[in-house]
């Protein structure tokens, strides 16, 4: 029984490391996906001055959180008039990107204030600005993950072994 308890304690420590790793990688994937989506938005606005509804539908076909975010925006466009696009966008940002820190969500919310409202060139500049901000954060997130991952796993393993030894 003590052996079982020690094993479970060790696994719990490893699980903490796993959760940490998963949340960091998920944030990196979301930032990466958002940057790709910004590229699509900029290209569609620049090339065809595409209306937002079909653009949101197109992006809703992306996998995972990114697709779910744009699907939420697309579905809520029926309520335009009752609420502005910026509010639809803001609600979707807070509902789907809770794992992003507040200031990254603010950068996305700012973009929603510009989309569909201002002249085309200003919208493209807003998209480019948001993308650059996200790119900087993505580069930082990757660097930090690379630096911290080994440490976190090492700490988790050490703690697990130590706890196991103490319990046994």
């Amino acid at each position: 029984m003590r052996l079982v308890g020690a094993l479970l304690a060790a696994l719990a420590c490893l699980d903490v490391a796993l959760l940490w790793s998963r949340s960091r990688r998920e944030r990196i994937n979301v930032l990466d996906g958002l940057i790709r989506a910004m590229n699509v938005i900029e290209a569609e606005l620049g090339g065809k001055a595409s209306p937002l509804p079909p653009l949101m539908t197109k992006l809703s076909r992306e996998d995972g959180t990114i697709g779910a975010f744009f699907a939420a925006v697309s579905d809520a466009l029926d309520s335009l008039g009752a609420q502005p696009f910026s509010e639809i966008w803001r609600s979707a940002v807070h509902a789907h990107f809770s794992l992003l820190p507040e200031w990254e969500r603010s950068a996305l919310t700012e973009l929603g204030n510009a989309l569909g409202r201002y002249p085309l060139q200003m919208q493209r500049e807003a998209v480019a600005l948001c993308r650059e901000q996200l790119r900087e954060q993505l580069a930082l997130a990757r660097k930090q993950y690379g630096e911290q991952a080994r440490l976190v796993w090492a700490l988790a393993l050490s703690a697990g072994v130590l706890l196991g030894i103490v319990l046994i």
């Binding site: 209306p51 509804p53 569909g116 409202r117 002249p119």
Partner: protein
């Protein structure tokens, strides 16, 4: 199609709920003023809350699908169309050098599209008698030209005539993904969203119409489209912003068309609302 409901759908929720007048010709929103409807030539308030910039933006956002950039071309002309509802825009214009359009909006005029069956019916036999001769529908702005044109298209088409419609702003047919919102008749082919000059030849080549109908000849390009159609021996039915023949003659754009002999008669509209009257005039310079 219920034009009143379509127009009301664009309004903020409290304005929409307060709007009971289903016969309104126009809905007007002005910043700092209570919203009004135009009925029988007079504006009447339908809500006490004054309009804000936010109200105007919400209407435009709904009408454009949150995509003002996609309707920039129409906005530069001072309006946009939403499923047959023409939304006139007023505000602070931006210079053409920076793209034109509006920097800020101050008022909107939502023109309620209507299907008035039976209007101008007494003059229909005269139009049917000589289809190849061109006919114009004349009135001042807001005089009911589009409604009359829509009804004439439907009647002529139901009478067996193949009618091609150049619906540049989608106000005649109010076409969406479900098809035409207004009934334009069983033998009508509608080209939506294409400039008249470009659409005229496409329609003639592809759909073999006996009559081509279009709303609002306002530019040299529109006049050119008319001449192309007439040159192919196809009848024309169109509208023009002018109160009568005398006024038409004084405007170079229409004088050119009159001199070409394309149009031989005009239906002139006078009066407002249900008291409108229609009379036929022969056009001779």
């Amino acid at each position: 199609m219920d034009g009143s409901r379509l127009a009301a759908d664009l309004l903020p929720p409290d304005y929409r709920q307060a709007l009971r007048e289903t016969e309104a010709e126009e809905i007007r929103l002005r910043i700092g003023r209570a919203p009004t409807v135009l009925l029988d030539g007079r504006e009447r308030r339908f809500h006490e809350r004054v309009c804000t910039q936010g109200d105007l933006l919400r209407v435009l956002e709904r009408a454009s699908g949150a995509s003002l950039h996609a309707v920039a071309e129409a906005m530069r002309e001072g309006y946009l169309s939403y499923r047959g509802v023409r939304i006139g825009v007023c505000g602070t214009a931006l210079a053409r050098a920076v793209g034109g359009g509006f920097g800020a909006f101050s008022s909107l005029c939502l023109r309620v599209p209507r299907e008035w069956r039976g209007i101008g019916r007494a003059l229909l036999p005269a139009l049917r008698e000589n289809v190849s001769g061109g006919s114009l529908i004349l009135s001042a702005p807001g005089g009911g030209k589009t409604s009359l044109l829509r009804e004439y298209i439907r009647c002529l088409s139901e009478g067996g005539l193949r009618v091609g419609v150049l619906d540049e702003r989608n106000e005649l047919s109010a076409t969406d993904e479900n098809g035409a919102g207004f009934d334009l008749g069983a033998h009508t082919d509608t080209l939506v969203g294409m400039p008249k000059a470009e659409g005229a030849m496409l329609l003639l080549r592809s759909m073999n119409p006996q009559l081509v109908a279009m709303d609002e000849i306002t530019s040299a390009e529109d006049a050119e489209a008319v001449l192309q159609i007439a040159g192919c021996g196809v009848g024309i039915l169109a509208t023009a912003h002018t109160s009568g023949f005398a006024q038409m003659r004084s405007r170079p754009l229409y004088r050119r068309l009159l001199e070409s002999g394309v149009f031989t008669r005009a239906v002139c509209i006078s009066g407002t609302g249900r008291a409108r009257q229609y009379r036929l005039e022969e056009l001779r310079l």
